[in-house]
């Protein structure tokens, strides 16, 4: 059974699995680029667990649905990007006023050229609501469960603020099934010395992960996805890291000042037949970079 074998989970999958283990069965969200992985995963996992998932028409509607379920006694989950979060501020004040327990998975992103806004947003929920910020996949499940536990003690909105890098990183999840009623703990193993590392943005990122899974990879799957450059300093690399991007090496040029390791741009031409070009890049990658 897949359930009892080690699985390779993304951060988004890990969030949903941890929420299910914490007892959450109601998930409301509206799609936006940086948190779409949570919806993709939660849409079928919630129903598989006999829960409820509704793709709402707007972020505020998603939060209002969660407020309704919370009023009926449930502990619902809402996911949001930074922009969604700003759009649901009005409804959030109602939830706070009515002390309705609901957890917001807040993916702290920002569009290109708006990094300063993203950094300001990091401190925003910390001031208003109970907020947990997992720094890696290792701490994510336990913090998420702690957030649900906190809501049971003190009803009201709570926030799990997620760095998009954490959300989109991949790791192995080893559920250890115990006898009895105790919930199986989540154990996560990150390889200490990854053999292959990637930093990829845009469609090539997902494509790369499918073709040649890395031992440890960070991939920003959407072109509009965030680049929290401050967190790049947390990553250490022995050698260089390849950056895949379309057209011009603008991204690697932009990121290099924030990175403590050298970035090697691998420019993917964008015209027709770009998949073939990626295959060429992959071949060259295996031979040269990695």
């Amino acid at each position: 059974m897949l359930k009892y074998t080690p699985r390779f989970l993304s951060g988004a999958q890990l969030c949903i699995e941890a929420a299910l283990q914490a007892g959450c069965r109601y998930f409301y969200a509206t799609p936006s680029p940086s948190q779409a992985g949570l919806l993709n995963e939660g849409a079928w996992r919630m129903r598989e667990a006999h829960g409820t998932f509704i793709q709402a028409e707007s972020p505020a509607a998603a939060l209002a649905m969660a407020m309704g379920s919370a009023a009926a006694g449930a502990y619902p989950l809402v996911s949001a990007s930074s922009h969604d979060y700003l759009a649901m501020m009005e409804a959030l004040s109602y939830a706070q006023h009515q002390a309705l327990p609901l957890l917001i998975l807040l993916v702290l992103d920002a569009p290109w050229g708006n990094q300063s806004a993203s950094e300001r947003l990091v401190t925003l929920p910390l001031q208003a609501f109970p907020c947990w910020v997992p720094d890696s996949l290792v701490t994510l499940p336990s913090l998420l469960r702690r957030a649900f536990g906190h809501m049971r003690q003190q009803p009201g909105p709570a926030i799990l603020a997620l760095d998009p890098w954490v959300l989109q990183a991949q790791s192995t999840l080893l559920p250890e099934v115990l006898d009895g009623e105790e919930q199986p703990p989540l154990r996560i193993h990150l390889p200490e010395q990854p053999l292959r590392r990637w930093l990829a943005v845009g469609a090539p990122a997902g494509w790369l992960l499918e073709r040649a899974p890395a031992d440890w990879a960070i991939a920003s799957l959407q072109q509009l996805s965030p680049l929290p450059v401050a967190s790049l300093s947390q990553f250490a690399a022995d050698g260089s890291v390849s950056v895949f991007e379309y057209g011009t090496p603008a991204l690697s040029t932009y990121l290099q000042p924030y990175c403590p390791f050298p970035l090697v741009p691998v420019v993917v031409p964008q015209p027709e037949g770009w998949i073939d070009n990626i295959e060429q890049v992959l071949r060259g990658l295996n031979e040269v970079v990695l």
Binding site: Y26, I54, M67, G68, S69, A71, A72, Y94
Partner: protein
């Protein structure tokens, strides 16, 4: 009066459609045998938010325009409850239109009540989306202009065209005959929800004498003689009810 209503006189202006509808709603719910334990209401902003002080079953205050989204969450988490939303035209036909349409598209098993008095009374009598052409409000002092503000939105006609809507009817409260029709419509709306047949929508045309600038009797006559030409009562959608 039934045990579902506990404030009399109600906190509304003389001749207000809300007070008539509250009494009617309490009577209908009691006649169907529903108790406060079975019911759950969600109200929007404006004058309609006072219903939480009038009817005795639990009410949740929704953010502006989001009553139907909040009711969706309640109904999904507590499907055995009979959930109704109560909004005015300013809340439902303005900011709440997307929540209404998406709840209808999903076929949410809810009863949606809208007291349409053709103005945004809670904020002082401004023009709403349903204000009829030529009607004088605080923000249309020369009368609503079709060229400047467009034509009035006909809510029930809009809702009736959406899929997964079981029942859509517009009623009025200006005469005994129409009040009896409203009573029947409210009963049907809750029976559709009880049967799980989809969204049931009742638009109730009511008067707002202060912000129409009329006495209660003049407002009642104006509603029956003039305003219902733009918003004609009737059943606009009705699927076969499971008995």
């Amino acid at each position: 009066m039934t045990g579902l209503i506990h404030a009399d006189p109600l906190p509304y202006c003389s001749g207000c459609g809300h007070s008539r509808l509250h009494h009617l709603l309490a009577e209908v719910l009691a006649s169907l045998g529903y108790t406060a334990e079975r019911l759950w209401g969600v109200h929007g902003g404006g004058c309609s938010e006072l219903i939480g002080d009038v009817l005795t079953f639990p009410w949740n205050a929704a953010p502006p325009g989001l009553a139907l989204a909040l009711a969706t969450g309640i109904k999904r988490a507590a499907p055995d409850k009979l959930v109704l939303t109560y909004q005015g035209d300013g809340d439902l036909a303005g900011r709440g239109l997307d929540a209404l349409m998406h709840a209808a598209l999903r076929g949410e098993n809810l009863t949606v009540l809208c007291l349409n008095n053709l103005v945004m009374a809670g904020s002082g009598g401004q023009m709403s989306a349903t204000t009829v052409t030529g009607q004088v409000t605080r923000t249309s002092r020369l009368g609503r202009s079709s060229t400047q503000s467009g034509k009035p939105l006909r809510l029930t006609e809009l809702v009736a065209r959406l899929p997964n809507v079981a029942f859509a009817q517009r009623v009025s409260l200006h005469s005994f005959e129409h009040i009896e029709r409203a009573r029947t419509a409210l009963k049907d709306a809750f029976l559709y929800q009880e049967n799980g047949q989809g969204l049931s929508f009742v638009e109730v045309m009511g008067a707002c004498p202060p912000y129409w600038g009329l006495t209660p009797l003049e407002a009642r006559d104006k509603l029956g003689n003039e305003l219902l030409r733009t918003h004609p009562p009737g059943i606009y959608k009705r699927v076969t009810m499971i008995r």
